[in-house]
């Protein structure tokens, strides 16, 4: 087989975007099949690349379908698809309607020339030629979903098999265009291998790529530099893998930005280098998220809630999520704990996980204990109930051990609130 289907995509990709197929050339292609097609193209006056893409793709669709049929002896269905796929992505969502319409109008007259001379529809056609006419419905020129293209694009199929959620990606049109135009072998594979080297397991690749599809537009060298920077800051390989898994956009940040962020946390929290590193590994979205909520929360803890700096440091090393918590929820929880339950600061500092729980849980359990007259939060007195036992254990164990009542009683009590 002179030209296998695998060679078709690469050859077509190598044609310059500015090549423009004249209608006369096209008619020649319709009559002859096989290798003559390869020699028929010539460079024509340039138009904008978008227009070229569109028309070139549209016209070669019809010629390639005839041409493919001539190479049909060893073609499987997949190869057929991939051949069509590299042409068809060229006419896709990105081309704006305003650009499309004038192009088609100007080409309509030329398009009519396609059908007239050699192949009149009334001309009798032999059986073999009749079989070889491929009349698949054409792919939509622009679409809002990737459903229509997934069967014709090898890239998309391999991504779905990896576990990437295309339904989330198609909500961002520029991301969907990017994925359609990329070739799996050349671009995507390299980045996937890089991610595997980093330590991300196969079953996590899907969720990672669904969130961070923009990594395909990053330069591989840049990514390697950033990983080298993190290694230089003494983050272990496993640490980096965990960070990238929990905060997928981490590697899209430049080295300066990562440096600034790490410096900010070190200065603001005044923790040792090792503790800052542990904090960032546990909650890597501190590096990728905005810094304003963190600054605001630090002020809230110090000024509004009245914690001392070493208390804040202790709470944050235990529960890093407190840095990014919602300010209103924080103040409401603290208000209930301090003013209604009468728990002093030093006990709250010992159990920072109360800031991580929903307020309704704290309220319900406290009111139940008050009703049973077991609400004792002072360690000095008997029947003391620790705050972490109040919030961090599931309902059944709480009812049995702490409240010494049954779950049905708890439910009946909840219905009296």
């Amino acid at each position: 087989m002179a030209l296998s289907a695998q060679q078709i995509p690469r050859w077509f990709n190598s044609i310059k975007l500015s090549s423009f197929i004249n209608a006369t050339q096209l008619t020649k292609h319709c009559t002859r099949r096989g290798k003559t097609l390869l020699h028929g193209f010539s460079a024509q006056p340039q138009m904008s690349s978008d227009n070229c893409f569109l028309q070139w793709g549209f016209k070669t669709y019809r010629t390639s379908s005839l041409w493919n049929s001539s190479q049909s002896t060893n073609l499987s269905s997949q190869e057929n698809n991939s051949a069509q796929s590299t042409l068809l992505p060229s006419m896709n969502e990105q081309s704006q309607k305003t650009q499309k319409i004038p192009n088609f109008d100007s080409e309509l007259s030329l398009e009519g020339l396609d059908d007239l001379p050699p192949l009149s529809p009334l001309q009798p056609v032999s059986e073999e030629e009749a079989i070889q006419i491929v009349a698949d419905p054409p792919l939509p020129l622009s679409s809002f979903t990737l459903r229509h293209y997934v069967d014709h694009s090898e890239t998309l199929q391999k991504l779905v098999l990896l576990g990437v959620d295309l339904s989330k990606i198609e909500k961002h049109p520029e991301a969907a265009n990017l994925l359609l135009r990329l070739d799996f072998e050349k671009d995507i594979k390299q980045i996937l291998l890089f991610l595997k080297d980093l330590g991300i397991e196969d079953n996590h690749l899907g969720t990672f790529l669904s969130k961070n599809y923009a990594i395909f537009s990053e330069d591989l060298e840049d990514l390697k530099t950033r990983v080298a920077y993190l290694r230089s800051k003494n983050f272990s390989k496993a640490d980096i893998a965990q960070m990238v898994r929990n905060a997928p956009f981490l590697l899209n940040f430049s080295v300066e930005r990562l440096d600034n962020r790490l410096g900010f946390f070190q200065k603001e929290l005044e923790l040792s280098v090792k503790k800052t590193r542990d904090l960032v590994v546990r909650l890597p979205r501190l590096l990728t998220g905005s810094l304003e909520p963190v600054k605001e929360n630090m002020k809230v803890y110090r000024l509004e809630l009245g914690f001392k700096h070493n208390e804040i440091q202790h709470m944050i090393t235990r529960i890093p999520k407190m840095l990014t918590a919602n300010k209103r929820k924080l103040t409401e929880t603290f208000d209930y704990l301090h003013n209604v339950m009468n728990i002093p600061h030093h006990i709250i500092v010992k159990f920072p996980q109360v800031f991580n729980t929903r307020l309704f849980k704290v309220k319900e359990r406290h009111l139940f204990l008050t009703y049973l007259r077991r609400a004792q939060y002072d360690p000095a007195k008997p029947n003391y109930i620790a705050l972490d036992k109040l919030v961090s254990i599931p309902d059944e164990i709480f009812c049995e051990e702490i409240a010494k009542a049954s779950v049905q009683d708890f439910e009946k009590f909840l219905k009296t609130l």
């Binding site: 049929s69 049909s72 002896t73 073609l75 269905s77 057929n80 073999e128 079989i131 070889q132 979903t145 990737l146 459903r147 229509h148 997934v150 069967d151 998309l156 199929q157 779905v160 576990g163 990437v164 959620d165 295309l166 339904s167 989330k168 309704f360 319900e364 309902d395 439910e411 909840l414 219905k415 009296t416 609130l417």
Partner: protein, 331 residues
């Protein structure tokens, strides 16, 4: 599998709304939980599509080409390409509760939303427990509102409170009869009044069918109120007015709905039970009672409609439409 459970998700159920939660948030939470349950089912089997492929004919040696129909797998309907099967669900709410009130809140899903309208038109009564606090008056009748007045309440006794409540019930009883548009001189109306079945079947202001004091420990007192066409704010205003009648002031600390039509506290689902499985069970459990109550109310409605105008015989259209409605409700 998800679609089978979606077909079962038709009917009414009640949830217990905790205080401090807006009813809209509760409705959205329930919708999200139902969607999560529906989408969690087994994914469908991979689809196939038929393609006509060009291939050599095996039998002939001449290498003829022919089209063969083959079924090839397609990824078009894969959940990762299309997204989750269920993205929205229509959940409707019955009589609403405001943010500070708590209690039984009736929801309808699917075909049950029609039953909600029928329930509304049945004009059933609701039960509330209302807690009041003597000695304070605020601008929005709640405990945390802006303080307007502080008074003493030592002179208030249980008998005085009961007398006030009896007076309120009596005046509302008169209003009940007036708004139900019944001519009490007829025999049927008298019998209904004796059985206690008179109630207005169209719009009316808040009417209290029963009120009594469950617990009195000054400054706190607990009332049980049976009423219809009310809002929780009017109930709080009622507490304020009781305080004024007692020559002191009162604020309302808790409004809790214990019964809404057929649904009682036992039927209400708690927060831990707001998921697909419990809701399906609750719908199934409540369905026969709801149907019975709606049928009863509808027949009652028919009776009362005929009472004021006994001269006109039953219209054929009126009869068929009424029967049609009844058969609809019965399902």
């Amino acid at each position: 599998m998800g679609s089978a459970r979606l077909a079962q998700l038709n009917g009414l159920f009640a949830a217990y709304k905790p205080p401090g939660l807006k009813w809209k948030h509760l409705r959205d939470t329930i919708e999200l939980q139902l969607l999560k349950g529906l989408n969690a089912g087994k994914p469908p089997a991979p689809e196939q599509r038929v393609r006509f492929l060009l291939g050599p004919l095996e039998s002939s040696e001449k290498k003829e080409l022919t089209l063969t129909a083959t079924s090839v797998p397609t990824l078009r309907k894969h959940p990762l390409v299309c997204g989750p099967a269920f993205t929205s669900l229509k959940v409707a709410v019955g009589h609403r509760l405001d943010a500070q009130a708590s209690g039984v809140l009736v929801f309808g899903v699917g075909q049950g939303r029609r039953l909600l309208t029928d329930m509304y038109n049945a004009h059933l009564t609701k039960d509330y427990t209302v807690r009041g606090l003597l000695g304070k008056a605020t601008d929005d009748f709640c405990e945390d509102g802006r303080l307007v007045e502080k008074t003493t309440y030592d002179h208030v006794t249980r008998e005085k409170l009961d007398r006030i409540l009896a007076m309120i019930q009596g005046s509302h009883q008169k209003a009940l009869v007036m708004y139900s548009n019944l001519d009490l001189k007829t025999q049927e109306a008298y019998e209904m009044a004796v059985r206690g079945l008179i109630r207005p079947m169209n719009k009316s202001p808040m009417l209290i069918t029963g009120i009594r004091c469950l617990h009195f420990a000054p400054p706190e007192f607990l009332l049980e109120v049976q009423c219809m066409h009310e809002t929780q704010k009017q109930l709080r205003k009622l507490v304020h007015e009781i305080g004024l009648e007692l020559k002191t002031t009162a604020v309302c600390t808790q409004v809790r709905r214990t019964r809404d039509g057929v649904f009682t506290l036992d039927d209400a689902l708690l927060r831990t039970q707001w998921d697909l499985h419990s809701i399906l069970d609750a719908i199934e459990a409540a369905a026969p009672r709801v149907a019975a109550e709606l049928e009863k109310s509808l027949s009652l409605g028919l009776d009362t409609q005929q009472l004021p105008s006994p001269r006109w015989p039953w219209d054929s259209e009126g009869l068929s439409s009424a029967l049609g409605l009844e058969s609809d409700v019965g399902h």
